[in-house]
Amino acid sequence: MNTLDNKFTKEIQNWLNTPVDDRDIEAGALMLLKLNHNQFLYRNIILRGRSLMSTLEYEMKKHLTIRLKGMTLIDVSNQEQKVMEHATKSLNSGSPLTDEKNELVIDSDNDQPNAKHIGQRADHDKLSAEIQNLYVQNGDIYFQMKALYNDLLQMADKEPCDREEKCFQLGELDKEYRANWAKYDAAQVIESKQTTTKLSDKDYVSAKKFISDNKKLLTSLDADDEKTTKVITAMQDKINQVISSGGTFSPKNQEELKKYGLKFE
């Protein structure tokens, strides 16, 4: 079983929290040996003592960071394998911003079984700004992922724990990248519908009266009041109904109402 020994993590924390001059270097070296199995470094620290304190401290902090994430070294190694595999798939599929033929295809995998990842959609311009932004955002993420991925490849001769921080970042970016694609692919264009209908004569008069009455009311209300917002929303609704029914407002009246943020379009 691969269970994290929290007591040991606490021992590392206590050692690091001890003032440098009071630290037991042999105990620290032994803890590091348990973490990295590096007999050469262990013997070096025992022989050279406090001159290697900074190296020991750096290594201990590095392992503590990993352990505080609840991961053992085997977890780190497994995570790296998984992250690199996913990131390779994502990156091999190409850059979303440099694709010109809209033929970008990213393989789906178990994490995103329904993702299509087909690059920029033909109806891209009709999507909401938020969804369009996901496409642009993924362009940035792609290049960040590429940089991290190349860094990790260059660190191949180092231990998994040395690559852990970059690997973690790459994994997070890859998740975001795939999630963005999933959202982008699944987004639907919502056609705006004309909900307003032509008012009857009676309703038209009633709407005009409502606007007139509430204009007077607005002068007595505080601008920050919640009630003011509700009144303005209701007035805007009536104004839209009047305009869609072919009604008009005098320029003077419009100017007065525009002061409260009402629109006549």
């Binding site: 269970t3 994290l4 803890m31 973490l35």
Partner: protein
Amino acid sequence: MLYESLKFCKGNPVPVGIRTHVYAISKDDIVKWPELPSTDKVDAKTLDTLAQYTGDFTLSADKKWLRIDLLDKKGKLEWEISGTKPNVLFLNKIILNHPLYNASAAAFQRMAVADDLVYLVPQRDGKYRVLGCEAYETTTKPSGSTGEGIEGEAGSNFEIEAPDVCPAPFYAGKIETEAGNISGATDTSIVTTP
């Protein structure tokens, strides 16, 4: 060389056999071994310490000695010599009988057959003996049986052979297990005061 008389007081019973559990771990998970006193340098002050490790096994982070429960009244630790003088070694041997033959036992055996393990075996008196040393590889030969009929003998067996310079050395240090630390001298929990 440190020789002393080997005495025995009549009337003192000698408990026979081993207890109903052993501990095992892969050598890969041991980062630092305790030391066995040298016979030529006379590191040991008395005869009984010459065959006993000094210090503790230091295990890799998050690794613990794994317990294997055994059938009672089964399994005997044996040793004999192997080779000819002066290139002579002790071959420490034991057959461990685990009562189950389930998937976990099969998986353990699957890995152990190709691995190099160390076993800690408690005698009846609670003193632990070590099978497996830093210098020589331990051989674990798993076997097993579902038994036959309704009363046949079933279970998973581990036949262990561990060459060593000493007849299964004693270990009185700390044994870090999943259930806490125990003493290799008495097979009891080590209670630490906060």
